[in-house]
Each structure stands twice: as C-alpha cells, then as structure tokens.
C-alpha cells in the first residue's frame, strides 16, 4: 500500500551463487520479495537481478520491507542505493 515516494531502491545482497545447477535466481529473488509484499506486486518493485557472478537484487522497498528482508536467514545484507561520481 505504500506510495511510490515512500519506497527507495535498496540492494539486497545474497552472496555467492549456489552450486545447484537448477537454481533459478529470478524466481528466488521474486520469491523473497513475495514474502514481504503481495505476489502480484513483487515484479513491479524488483528493479534489477544479480544472477551471473553472485546473487542479489535491487528493489524499491519501504523501511519495513527492508527490515523484514534483512532479517531473513538467506539474505546477506540490505543496503540503500546511492550515487557515486566519476573522479
């Protein structure tokens, strides 16, 4: 129910890719999001999936959703997106 302005992009870092060959990162990422938002909404707030060299995703989250994800055993860390600059 949170309006878009209340959501901020966060990186949900899940660490190394599992060795399991049938592992589907996308469904894993959506599955995790579906634990904190309604299933039909998860795809809308997922902005990026990391799936080739390590696992994780970026999603527009409220503070509450961020906390819930951060407390999940399989989530390594959740940190806010920020801007870097050319040097």
């Amino acid at each position: 129910e949170a309006i878009d302005e209340e959501r901020k992009v966060h990186i949900v870092y899940l660490g190394s890719l599992p060795d399991n060959k049938v592992y589907s990162p996308m469904s894993h990422h959506l599955g995790l999001l579906e634990k904190v938002v309604e299933s039909n909404f998860a795809a809308k707030i997922l902005t990026r999936s990391y799936k080739r060299s390590f696992s994780g995703f970026a999603a527009k989250l409220t503070d509450q959703e961020k906390e819930r994800l951060a407390n999940m055993k399989e989530v390594v860390s959740v940190f806010p997106n920020r801007l870097l600059q050319p040097q």
Binding site: K51, F54, S77, L83, L84, Q85, P86, Q87
Partner: protein
C-alpha cells in the same frame, strides 16, 4: 594518452607479448564509450578471444567491433552505452586505446596517443547518467563483467564519503572479481589533500592515487610592469599578444557585496565596466560570470596550482601567492593596470612524479593497517580520447567539441594502473590478482617526496610509489594472497556475520589464539597502528613467493630516515631453490613512541634484493 605511458616507461619500443595482449580484455565500468573513436577502431584485430562470453548490448545506434568487443548499459534514463560525457571514453582509451598518431588538444600536448595495452580488447559497462552512477547499476556491471570473462576491471568512480566494506558495491563486486582471478583498479578519490579521505579501502582492490607526469601545461601572464607570472591552466585562446586593461571584480559591480563581486559571483559583473578588460576574480568559478559579462579574459584564484584545468575563454589561474602579486600590481597602478594573457604552452616538469593535491589521502579509515592508496599513476592533464558531443568544460557557454581532451583526476590514474596490471598479466596470465598487485607495488618507482604544502602525507598520499610496468613483469618475489587470506583479515575487524556480508558465503572466522594479527595479512606494504606517547614493538609476518630465477638469494635491507624506530628482519637472508617456492620472514619495528599529533607517523622501506631484483615495501607506523 600522449605522454604519460612514455613517462612510466611503456613506450612504442617496449617488449610486448602481442598475441596474449590481444587476448586480454579490459572491463571499463564508467560513463560508457564513444565507439567510433579512432582509439577504438578494429583495424588489425582478429575475432574476440575464445574466452569472451559477453555481448554487444550497447543499445540504440551503438555498434561494437573487434576492438570494442562488448558493451552494456544499466540506466533507465538513457538508451545506449554511448558516452555523452567523455569520461568513460577517456578512461577506456587510457587503459587500452589504439595507437593514434598526431593528436592534440588545440595543438597542445601533441603526440601519438596510446593506451597501456593497445592490442587489448575493451568491454564497456555504462553505469552513469547525468545524475551520477547508482550503486545498483555498478553492482550489475560487476555481475556481468565477471561473467563476461574480462581480465582486469577499471572503475574510476567513487564518493567523497568512505563506506563500510559491507555496504560498498565496488568492494563487494571487486571481491567476487578477485575470487575469479580478476583484479580491480579503483580511483582513490579527489578529496585531497585533507587526511583520511581515501574512499577505496578494500585490500583486494588496487587503489590509484594521481600524480604528475613530466609534461606540465602552463600559461603566462605579462603584467604592464614587465613582470611575467606562470599560471596553471589550459588556455587555448590567442589574444594576439595584445595587453588589455585589468579590473578587479569588486570594482566592476555596483549591485553586489564586495566579497561577492570580488569572487565574480553570478550576476555581479556589469558588462559596461568589464567590456574590453581582463577581470580579476577571487574564486575560480568566477570564470563563467566573467565570460558571460563580456570581459576579454579573466585571472582567477585557485587553492592549488599543480593541476591545469581547461578554461572556457582566455583566462588563467594562480594560487594565493602569485594571485596576490597581481592584486598588488592592480592596486598600485589604479587606472593603468594592463595584462597580456598568453596562450598555454607545454614545459618539462622536472619535479614529477609528485602526487596531486586533489588526490585523496590515507590513512585508511576502515582498515588503518592497510596503506591506501596503494600506488600512484599519472592523473594530471592527461590527453586521451573523448566524446565529440560532450562539453569540454563545465561552462554552458563553452561550445567547443573535441575528439581528444585533457582531463585530470584519480579517474585518469586508475586506468593507467589497470593498463599496467594488464601489461603484467600479458606476461603472467596465470598470476593471481594479488600477485599482479604485489608486482606493481614492490617495483614502483620512488615519488618526489618534497615537503610541499600538500605533500606531507608521504605514503598516505602516494602508497608504494609510481607505477613502473616494465619492471613489474619481473618483480623477483611476490606477496601472494587469496580469498581465504582476505577472509582471515576481515575476521580480525568484523564479526563472522559481517564477514559473510562481504564474502557472500559461509566463511567462518576462527576464534582464539590462531586468529593472527592485522599486521600478518600478506600485503605488499606494511602498516601498524600504535598508541601515541607509548613505546611500541610491532611484529609483521610475511611470506614471499619466488617468481624469478629458481636459485636465488635475497638479502633484506631497511632504509629509514628516522631514528624513532628500529627495524629488524628475521631471517635477513632468504635462499630459494625453485620457482614458486615460498619463504616466510618476520619484521619487528621497535620505537619509543609517536607524538599524539594527528596522523603522526614514521616511515621506512624494506628492500629484498638479490642483486638484480629490488622488492620494495614501505613500512608505516602511525598513531591513526
């Protein structure tokens, strides 16, 4: 670049392993790339290396070739990997651009442009838009670059704020790259010369500080009294040798406060008062107001004059002392002050390499036992490829466009370090990222350590010294480190949960007496933190691997300027019987105590020498 690679010893005649170089891929995470640049043409290149698993997904109107073999972009606000800013084109060409004859910036810095490894391939990952470079995009670029099969990653991006390793996408991405054998070079940041601002702090990253090369771009101002002053800016405009009246900003404004007018703040200068004159401004950003108000030129004050910035119209910059000479001349010749602004010229800078004033300094605020930056490379007035549609200065009134531009920053040093690392890798394709890093650090040339106003930080400013890629292919010994070594280091400063935040796996931290100490991480430079005003005795344990002749004997030598510290190495002689044989040694530093002044430190140099190789490691004991 037209001079910097020659300055570090990689010239057109340097020994190269061309077929391996052609199979080397540099991943550039930046503002994109200008694919049509001469520096990225594919004449003479064969098909992409077999190991390449990437793609050309550069988007609209973007075509790759056999030199620029891959491109991706990660923003929703742009539709291609094309570089609209010029920064990524500049860094990519610095690392691996083709050899291109007779390039210059309006005749300045003329020469043959060349990257560090001109035969290498480039994969560009565009992560920055006008708003900046979001970390979610940076992490996505690492995710792809590692899987695509690049050999070296160069990322000239950063923040003025230091992030914890577990929240730092460059540290996390580079960690995964390291585990796959890929070394990441990252810019130290441009927050110098204030201490402890270096933003790239992870030990598995090779962090680049910016230094001067022996080509300096200057511009002269001749005052009406005949005195000539040498300024530091890139002024490509000719005023035909004519002198013009000089006016101080505060005398050219009636509606602004004296301070605002003296700085030439926006809207302060009156056209009628500055027309046909050169305006003196107390701040560098006054150049735009001087330009817009119709002045002929401008003289501006800057904090540091070791870097020459491009200015959008006839102008030059001076640091405090020289600027005050001009101000005094103006005051003393009230109505008749005249100045003649000369076009920029190039001169040889015998003081190089000197670390840049803007280059971010240590100590490392996250891991003070790891000296950061690691190494220095040219980062002042570097001429390299540029996007022809991008603005060459920040002034909206500057309509000039070029194919090769002069930029300064640790961004420019970073691809020099990446290019040097790639050069080493072409001779040693199987070396680990740590071994390549070690080879560059222990063979680095000495910097000019003259105690200028901004150069007091020593190793905290320039790390192990100045890149010397030719020497780095034959370092003799290397300090090796692998994933588990970095995990062990992190376990000393973070709890197991936080270590897993970085490694992303189920790494465990040992407990009890076998944890080791922060001084024991097998880093190619040595640092320790001690309490102020207390005597200290610090032990460092290190292992070196013989990568030179099988039978070799190395002797340890300590070079120290200070009597504050007594350093002993045990054993003092290391004898090797085979290639890749490893030997350990212990270095003990004993001192009576450092003062409690901020960042008080003593330095020394450990040199292992077999008569041919000289394996150098700086030692810094500091109070943090």
């Amino acid at each position: 670049t037209t001079r910097s690679w020659d300055f570090v010893g990689l010239n057109g005649k340097t020994k190269r392993n061309r077929s391996v170089e052609s199979d080397t891929i540099i991943g550039v995470i930046d503002t994109g790339i200008w694919p049509e640049s001469e520096s990225f043409k594919d004449h003479g290149f064969g098909p992409p290396p077999k190991k390449w698993k990437g793609a050309c997904e550069g988007g609209k109107n973007f075509t790759c070739n056999k030199k620029l073999i891959g491109a991706r972009f990660y923003g929703s606000l742009y539709d291609s990997a094309r570089d609209d800013e010029g920064h990524g084109t500049h860094t990519a060409s610095t690392a691996a651009g083709n050899t291109v004859n007779d390039v210059s910036f309006y005749g300045l810095a003329q020469g043959t442009a060349r990257g560090g490894v001109p035969s290498a391939r480039i994969a560009a990952y565009k992560v920055c838009g006008i708003e900046g470079c979001p970390t979610d995009a940076i992490l996505a670029a690492f995710d792809d670059a590692i899987a695509d099969g690049v050999d070296i990653i160069t990322i000239s991006l950063g923040s003025p704020d230091v992030a914890l390793l577990q929240n730092d996408p460059i540290a996390i991405g580079a960690f995964h790259a390291m585990t796959k054998g890929i070394l990441t070079s990252n810019s130290a940041g441009n927050s110098g010369p204030t201490a402890s601002k270096v933003a790239s702090v992870a030990p598995w990253i090779l962090t680049a500080a910016a230094s001067s090369s022996d080509r300096r771009i200057i511009d002269k101002v001749i005052l009406g009294n005949g005195k000539t002053l040498v300024g530091a800016s890139v002024n490509t405009f000719r005023l035909n040798g004519t002198s013009f009246p000089l006016i101080y900003g505060k005398d050219a404004s009636r509606q602004c406060s004296e301070i605002a007018a003296a700085s030439c703040q926006d809207g302060c200068l009156e056209s009628g008062l500055v027309k046909g004159k050169v305006v003196l401004c107390d701040l560098a950003y006054g150049v735009d107001e001087a330009y817009r108000s119709g002045a002929v030129g401008s003289i501006l004050k800057v904090d540091w004059d070791d870097d020459s910035q491009i200015l959008p119209f006839p102008a030059t910059t001076f640091s405090d002392k020289k600027f005050n000479v001009i101000k005094s001349y103006y005051k003393n010749s009230t109505k008749d002050a005249q100045v003649n602004l000369q076009r920029s010229e190039v001169e040889r800078d015998a003081a190089a390499p000197l670390v840049a004033s803007f280059s971010s300094r240590g100590p490392n605020s996250i891991l003070p036992e790891i000296i950061k930056p690691d190494i220095s490379a040219p980062g002042i007035t570097i001429l390299a490829a540029f996007s022809p549609t991008a603005s060459i200065t920040e002034s909206s009134d500057d309509t000039r466009h070029v194919n090769y531009n002069i930029l300064s920053g640790t961004s420019m040093a970073c691809p020099h370090v990446a290019g040097a690392a790639a050069y080493v890798k072409t001779f040693h394709p199987d070396w680990s990222p740590a071994a390549i890093k070690s080879s560059l650090m222990t063979t680095a040339s000495p910097m000019n350590a003259a105690q200028t106003s901004y150069n007091a930080a020593g190793e905290f400013a320039y790390g192990s010294g100045h890149i010397n890629p030719v020497q780095a292919i034959d370092p003799g010994l290397v300090y090796e480190a692998f994933k588990q070594d970095y995990i062990n280091l992190l376990c000393l400063v973070l709890n197991q949960t936080d270590v897993r935040l970085i490694s992303g796996d189920n790494s465990t931290c040992s407990t009890g007496s076998d944890k080791g100490s922060l001084q024991d991480h097998n880093y190619p430079s040595l640092a320790a933190v001690v309490a102020p005003n207390k005597s200290f005795s610090v032990k460092f344990h290190r292992t070196v691997k013989n990568v030179g002749p099988a039978n070799s004997t190395y002797n340890a030598k300590i070079l120290a300027n200070s009597t504050q510290v007594d350093i002993k190495v045990e054993p003092e002689v290391l004898s090797f019987k085979s290639l890749n044989e490893e030997k350990t040694f212990t270095l003990t530093a004993v001192g009576k105590g450092l003062s409690n002044e901020q960042h008080s430190h003593v330095t020394a140099l450990l040199v292992w020498s077999d008569g041919i190789h000289s394996v150098r490691s700086p030692i810094v004991i500091h109070n943090n």
